[in-house]
């Protein structure tokens, strides 16, 4: 059991809730933008996984690093990436962080969002490398490598786990097991039910958050893991059991799963659950909740406006940055 010292404070809980709400609304807005053909890239929504995603990154400083996934924006919003920047990237606009070059590959140096690999499961070692930098530079920062169980099938998982422990890097590996890998239930391609237990083989401490839709549980586990890593004790492995309420991507008819099961899973939606708990603890009122909702709407509306007026990149810039300097 996690010790009480890692329980969420009220502030932390409200912050985390807000980020989850913003994530949900942003993703829905993305779907809308795509349907209206205002952005060319379709969605890989992370609906239902907001607790795991936001929880993984919400407790990080700007100088900490996160490596995220291609699914949803939870870990990015959790880290502080702006909705505006997200929409500008999806829209391929000249004023995005990448000048329209990155698309779905969200990243930010100021916000400490590291590049992610185009091929699933190739960037575990990227996190280890970032950890080496932190170690050598004597920084008290950490890396959170957030991924799904599908990525954990890839070979780099092994190489990174081994090196992480060997080099004692400050990396928290956070696996959100959402039950599905692309178009199939994960047990069809992963032989073992639990992912975190593999950390045992690498002599890495690990924990499974069985209720990964409980933001309080996720937050508590993450805080402990981060403390471990930050204090120089080396890497830590967290697994959050959750459920992918969204299809794999826009338009996926989900023939590989049972509609009734999905309907039942919606009852476990982390956002209403968090809302209920906040109200129960009297950490927020209905009005607070509403205000937070409105704030989210405003942020998104402003981001959409920014998207609409942002120019596309000039092809003359095509050869910029091919070589450094």
């Amino acid at each position: 059991m996690a010790s009480k010292k890692y329980e969420l404070t009220q502030k932390e809980a409200l912050d985390l809730y807000f980020k989850m709400l913003l994530t949900r609304k942003t993703e829905n807005a993305h779907e809308e933008l795509f349907q209206k053909q205002m952005v060319p890239v379709y969605t890989h929504l992370g609906t239902g996984q907001e607790a795991a995603g936001c929880g993984a990154s919400a407790f990080l400083e700007p100088e900490d690093y996160v490596i995220g996934t291609h699914r949803g924006v939870a870990e990015y919003i959790g880290k502080g990436l702006s909705v505006e920047n997200i929409f500008l990237e999806y829209g391929g606009r000249a004023t995005s962080g990448s000048g329209g070059r990155a698309g779905l590959h969200l990243h930010s140096r100021p916000q400490g969002v590291l590049p992610l690999a185009g091929s699933l499961g190739s960037d575990f070692s990227l996190a280890v490398g970032a950890g080496l930098s932190l170690r050598n530079q004597g920084r008290k920062n950490v890396v959170v490598d957030y991924f799904g169980e599908g990525a954990a099938e890839a070979p780099d998982f092994h190489g990174a786990m081994n090196m992480a422990v060997l080099y004692r890097v400050p990396v928290v590996f956070c696996c959100a097991t959402n039950q599905f890998v692309e178009y199939h239930p994960y047990r069809d391609s992963t032989c073992a039910a639990d992912i975190a237990v593999r950390a045992e083989a690498y002599c890495m401490p690990w924990k499974i958050v069985r209720d990964g839709n409980d933001m309080f549980a996720v937050g508590q586990a993450m805080k402990e893991a981060l403390d471990h890593a930050r204090s120089g004790k080396g890497p830590y492995f967290i697994e959050c059991k959750t459920y992918r309420l969204a299809p794999h991507h826009t338009g996926d008819p989900c023939v590989y799963r049972d509609a009734a099961e999905v309907k039942k899973a919606w009852k476990n939606d982390p956002i209403p659950r968090a809302e209920k708990e906040l109200l129960k603890r009297k950490w927020a009122t209905e009005t607070d909740i509403e205000d937070m909702g409105d704030r989210c709407e405003r942020i998104i509306a402003e981001a959409v406006e920014a998207l609409k007026s942002a120019p596309l990149p000039d092809p003359a810039s095509i050869m910029d940055h091919i070589h450094a300097g």
Binding site: H107, S122, A127, N162, A324
Partner: protein, 322 residues
């Protein structure tokens, strides 16, 4: 001027940069022990946090090098054989090559990946290959292959200082080569070729160990009154188009020599570039002298047949005149 081996020259370059900049680190299999001599003595000077022995996982530890490079370190990552570069291809060609460009310069990757290539005799298909051609098509990188100890030191220094990812190929048969190497730090510019032997009749372009075969061939040709101009590319990507073109303008003939396979090799790119831009300068076909398009066989007569020999260079030059 002091005489040093190629390997010693590399040690001087890496060591010099490690002293200059505490963010320079070395990663690879047994870099502590310095299997091929390129990190000899550095572990005792810099210790395990900067001379980092890795597990056997090129795909992963080169990716770790990429991650470290994106976040403040300047890693020199070592794969022991040219073949192992294929293992690291995702890290190099997908991540390191792409992200400086994709992030619009925000995430630089000041990484050097060095490897040891070329047949040394009986290495068979897995310990003999010169795999530079595998990366000729990868954007956003530079690729270097020196031919002498002095060049090796200067080019390695530049490679480490360059914020662009640099692939550094050492021909293993040159590691023990002795040559005059200046003491102290110095950098040779990347992307610049050198005319090591002027001539008027044909331009011979090569790099690494095969530069020396070209010089041998040039001497043999000279006895027949054919003067070859021999160019040492030093940097393969980007190659010094200006120097090569100026030479071809003078000689009207071009032969490119490499120990890698012919199809899609370094020579192919140079030949196509010169043919595309400077076709009217050419008084004969552009000839590529390269290894056969086969895996490297083990037995000596087969290996020799696979690799281009000095006679093949001479024959290649002569064929331009027919």
């Amino acid at each position: 001027m002091p005489e040093k081996t190629y390997a010693e020259a590399i040690v001087e370059a890496i060591g010099g940069e490690m002293r200059r900049d505490e963010n320079v680190v070395v990663m690879g299999l047994d870099v502590k022990q310095a299997i091929f001599g390129t990190t000899r003595g550095l572990y005792s000077e810099f210790g395990p946090t900067r001379i980092i022995d890795t597990p056997v996982c090129e795909a992963s530890f080169v990716m770790a090098g990429v991650g470290a490079a994106m976040t403040g370190l300047r890693p020199v990552v070592e794969t022991l054989f040219g073949e192992y570069m294929y293992l690291a291809m995702d890290s190099i060609s997908n991540m390191a090559a792409s992200w400086p460009y994709v992030s619009n310069g925000v995430f630089r990757v000041p990484l050097v990946v060095q490897t040891f290539c070329g047949a040394r005799g009986h290495g068979a298909y897995s310990h003999s290959q010169s795999t530079q051609a595998a990366f000729i098509n990868t954007p956003g990188i530079k690729m270097v292959c020196p031919s002498s100890p002095a060049d090796a030191k200067g080019l390695m220094t530049s490679a480490i200082r360059d914020d662009t990812p640099v692939l550094f190929y050492h021909h293993r048969t040159l590691l023990a080569m002795k040559g005059e190497v200046p003491d102290g730090d110095y950098a040779l510019p990347l992307g610049r070729a050198e005319i090591v032997r002027p001539g008027r009749d044909v331009t011979l372009v090569s790099f690494g160990s095969y530069l020396h075969r070209c010089l041998d061939a040039a001497e043999a040709l000279s006895r027949d009154g054919l003067e070859a101009e021999v160019i040492d590319l030093r940097t393969l990507v980007p190659f010094d188009e200006e120097t090569v073109a100026a030479s071809v303008k003078k000689t009207t003939r071009l032969v490119v020599v490499e120990d890698g396979r012919k199809r899609g090799g370094i020579g192919s790119e140079i030949a196509a570039t010169i043919a595309e831009q400077y076709i009217d300068l050419l008084d004969g076909p552009i000839v590529r002298v390269a290894a056969l398009d086969t895996p490297v066989p083990f037995s000596a007569p087969l290996e020799q047949a696979h690799l281009p020999q000095t006679d093949d260079i001479i024959a290649g030059v002569r064929s331009v005149f027919r």
